[in-house]
Symmetry: C2
Subunit: 609 residues, 2 copies
């Protein structure tokens, strides 16, 4: 990734702007002439072009010249990219020239980044940022708020807003319906509101923010505040580094309010069916005890990147006389002082829950680890992974949230493991004491099958790690007992029997066994057939655990068109939700306005769930 | 005021930094040697030093060398200002060299601005920005939000916050009590919260923001959005230029919540008494039907810059069969379609109310004007008055809200009229059509007694003007009838008789006759004696209407120590509330921490109310 303060390498600093400007100008000229051969000669033998809806109306990484050629052949005439212009100063980083640029397409304005090696393009990022004629009102173009002059029977803001809210979903259909009003649904709805796309967010909880408030008591964000801003309204500069869940809940509730979202809390989606003839959805909702049906053109599932809780069937479970529950149902350690607790699993939730039980004075807490976990200290991540883009230092170095997000987006998935491995080499050395301690007690840790670390694990399988904030130390010290590798073979009346034959007395058994796939939601809300048609969500096709090949190079089905017309998936962590909500919102807006949106390279389905 | 893009004048641009740096270094050296003669030689014959709590623990403008000498003689040893350092590039503006600088005192860190003419100081601003060792946690120093590691029985953020809120005012006394939870009280409380000063805000309305929501229906902010940001959390960039009142109400409610204020809504202050022996207040509150007494050390009245409604006694009022009310009680024009309405007064409220009645189809609306009004079109103010400091253009030119506020603060009150007159000359030419139209219908307008305009009128008397957004045009077109100069001599059963003998049939009479003085609140809540001891609030002593001399040069009693220990006044428009809330918060924090705060030049009282 781009170094925030990249020192000039072996290339003469005066040549840099010239190299980037020269390359971009030759590139633009070749595309203008529709001269693909000339354009492709500007790319190195190893090259990547990642496009976020600017040319492809898709999220797509083309790997290698031939893939780029095929993409250009299909998209160049319609997209008509032009007006390429370097923005700001080029930089070098280990001999790679990096520069930001602006460009236009037939219908939009874009921003991109290029990386040159030996004068040729290594990576190219193109992202759609705005649609011409449909720009978000902001700055100079913001609303005036009041019509000056005399207007008979004018409406006040309050009256207009109340009327609009009362009509939407009753006398006027929303263009877009978002199921799920967590940070993902809220941020997307804020973008759609600024783009004037009539949208309703449906949330089954009573208040915005409850999806955070209702989680286990000790939950805090593990990502630092600089990574977590919502669109348009960043946290103030005293906001804590790691937001506690209830504070985050309050922020989201207030955000939904001041952003004037049409947010239907206390509303459950009970079913959705696509009407092919009308090209719209029929969505059944339960609101205030009433059943109603909406007919949006677009349906977005923002129900969280996890599906239903994974609850393994364990023999004897029914006979257990203590409490047995999935981690999603475990409210916290308050009730378990002096009790014996067993937690199955060894990822983030398992660690947080074990530590919380210990802090509440449980008599015995045992973690049962089934397979290796990536463990990294929070401080090490801040120092080596987030810090360059998302930290106070980055802010002071002029790296805005948008630059940080685009920099993250500029790295092709294929290159990520190689870029991350050196980070983990440093972390391994930095925290040698931690890893020695974990080995000593038999905790199975690794840095991913190919040492690619947490970020890759997150993209591939959405989990498999623990960000150490204290539980690892308790394990090392024996305060949290460990059984590893093992699993629970059977549950008895007051104990569990492990696969290694041990029997652990238990008053509480928590199954921190993760969640099913995201399109479980599509199966439940729409139909198993539609869920199978769109196929597996998330994952890159890396052929590692829980992420079978073939290689796809982009997250499956996320923020981009799916095999089901009018169905979209939105989610991820706060950074992804913030960044990709723009890409998704522009795709929806373009469709609403009837702009041509020919999708290039709609991904085939290789896996059902 | 400083031009945002000041072109270099006759001074060689290369000399500029040298001049400012050289001056500041000589100045700092002279002060370090306690050599007042040398320091004073650095000032021109006409000179001003405005200090916001940095040296004087007061808000004070010293006019002329002798006043500066007296101030330094009294403050220099204790304040020990040092470490003067120019920050950023100096500029010239009409031959005046301007530069920003940082400095320190014995207990604090400050920021200031200097203006040099012919190498000597013309104006100097010194402001306290932080107290050493008590800096607001922000950026790098922000809270972590969670204690990493294992902590037995740790509290969650929610539990800690709930416990703290439950204890404050019950088992733990607040250090500071703020009466009035509008934008002023809320912004100050946010600053005090960041400074860790236990504070309760008392608001009689049911919800934060109600002080806006309950005003007349058509109310919008007349100041543009760039002027109106609250501390720490600026409006997002799509926020309307002129906030509608209910939207502002929602923002304030959200703000109070996410800033974690101890905000007691639905609570009325029924009395306050200073206990000299204990050096604290006994404040009686009515909350949830209960009476309780708090003992804060500091009491801030943030009840709005207006006191009680001014309701003139008009003969015959009791016999009136229509509705007669003060403007503060007039909810809007809805009920008056087809009715005959008379509005007494010709300032902002009177104009807004007349226009609103007309918009609702009142049969006849007559404004009765008693004396001249300053009228300026909103667009002209944006163009010539706000624009250079508070506008999208200013934002793009790098003028942060803080720079804009400090620039505004850097102008001594004495110089303001001369600086403003040219603005009004331009406005008079720009909007010649408006003024010709007003003359044609006999509307009395001016630009203040000395042509100093709206800003001066606001500082001197807190009113006396109308920012034209449509009502003047209705008056010119005869849609709103005008009687001027005139007043209501008596009220009859279904009409009013004016001083010119005319009789106007009336179903509604609105008295837009303004408000009494701010320390009416002190008289009502504390005692008439204390109100008289602190004397008149607001106003500069300009010896113009409603602002009797002698010249004081600063707003009376605002944001600074008063003749009553522990009693403070906070208020003003959103810009003033934002800017001076820091000055006030630091004065309160310093007292709480027991830092020495010797007040220089506590203003004597010349007028009781």
């Amino acid at each position: 990734m781009r170094s925030a303060t990249g020192k000039a390498g072996h290339i003469n600093a005066l040549d840099l702007p010239r190299q980037a400007t020269g390359w971009l100008s030759r590139f633009g000229a070749a595309l203008a002439r529709r001269d693909l051969d000339a354009a492709l000669k500007l790319f190195g033998a190893e090259c990547y072009w990642r496009d976020l809806a600017a040319l492809t109306w898709n999220i797509k990484t083309c790997e290698g010249r031939e893939a780029i050629r095929a993409m250009l052949e299909a998209t160049l005439v319609a997209a008509a990219p032009a007006a390429w212009a370097i923005d700001g100063a080029a930089r070098t980083n280990d001999g790679v020239v990096e520069a930001w640029f602006d460009f236009e397409t037939a219908v939009g304005r874009g921003r991109g980044q290029l990386r040159l090696r030996d004068g040729r393009c290594w990576t190219l990022l193109t992202t759609l940022r705005a649609l011409k004629g449909f720009e978000e009102p902001s700055g100079r173009s913001r609303d005036k708020g009041v019509v000056h002059g005399a207007v008979r029977n004018r409406q006040s803001w309050l009256e207009r807003r109340a009327q609009e809210a009362a009509a939407l979903g009753v006398t006027r259909q929303p263009y877009c319906l978002i199921i799920g009003g967590g940070q993902g649904g809220i941020g997307l709805a804020a973008r759609l509101r600024r783009l004037n796309v009539p949208t309703i967010v449906v949330e089954k909880n009573a208040r915005a923010g409850d999806s955070w408030r209702k989680r286990y008591r000790s939950l805090c964000l593990h990502d630092p505040v600089w990574y977590d801003h919502m669109p348009y309204l960043p946290f103030p500069d005293h906001w804590p580094v790691f937001s506690p869940k209830d504070k985050m809940g309050d922020w989201l509730e207030m955000y939904a309010r001041v952003m004037e979202l049409d947010y239907w809390a206390g509303t459950e989606c009970t079913g959705a069916r696509y009407d092919d003839a009308a090209a719209e959805w029929a969505v059944t909702l339960r609101r205030d005890g009433q059943t109603l049906c909406l007919r949006p053109k677009q349906l977005v599932l923002a129900t969280g990147m996890s599906g239903m809780p994974n609850v393994p069937e364990i023999p004897g479970a029914a006979s257990f006389e203590g409490r047995l529950c999935h981690s999603s149902r475990h409210p916290g350690g308050e009730a378990w002082t002096g009790k014996r607790c067993v937690v199955l699993g060894a990822n983030n939730s398992a660690h947080d829950i074990c530590a919380d039980l210990w802090e509440h004075g449980a008599a015995e807490v045992t973690m049962v680890q089934r397979s290796p976990t990536i463990v990294v200290r929070s401080e090490a991540l801040m120092e080596y992974a987030w810090g360059r883009l998302y930290s106070e230092e980055a802010v002071r170095a002029g790296i805005t949230t948008e630059i940080a997000d685009l920099t993250t987006a500029s790295v092709p998935s294929r290159l990520l493991p190689a870029m991350q491995r050196p980070v983990y080499d440093r972390i391994r050395r930095r925290d040698a004491d931690l890893y020695a301690g974990l080995e000593r007690v038999g905790f199975l840790y690794d840095f991913g099958e190919d040492d690619a670390g947490i970020h890759s694990a997150y993209l591939r399988r959405g989990g498999g790690y623990y960000i150490e904030v204290g539980a690892s130390q308790l394990i090392i010290e024996g305060e949290i007992k460990l059984k590893s590798p093992a699993t629970i073979e059977r549950i008895n009346r007051r104990s569990v029997t492990l696969t290694d034959g041990a029997e652990l007395p238990a008053d509480l058994v928590v199954l921190a066994t993760g969640y099913g796939p995201m399109n479980d939601w599509a199966a439940q809300l729409i139909s198993p057939e539609v869920a199978d048609r769109v196929g597996k969500c998330w994952g890159l096709g890396s052929d590692t655990k829980n992420d079978p090949g073939p290689w796809e190079g982009e997250l499956r089905n996320m923020w981009k068109p799916t095999q089901q017309p009018g169905l979209w998936f939105h989610g991820g962590n706060l950074m992804q939700s913030r960044h990709y909500s723009l890409t998704l919102a522009l795709q929806l807006k373009a469709r609403m306005e009837g702009l041509p949106t020919p999708v290039y390279g709609l991904a085939p389905v290789h896996h059902l769930r």
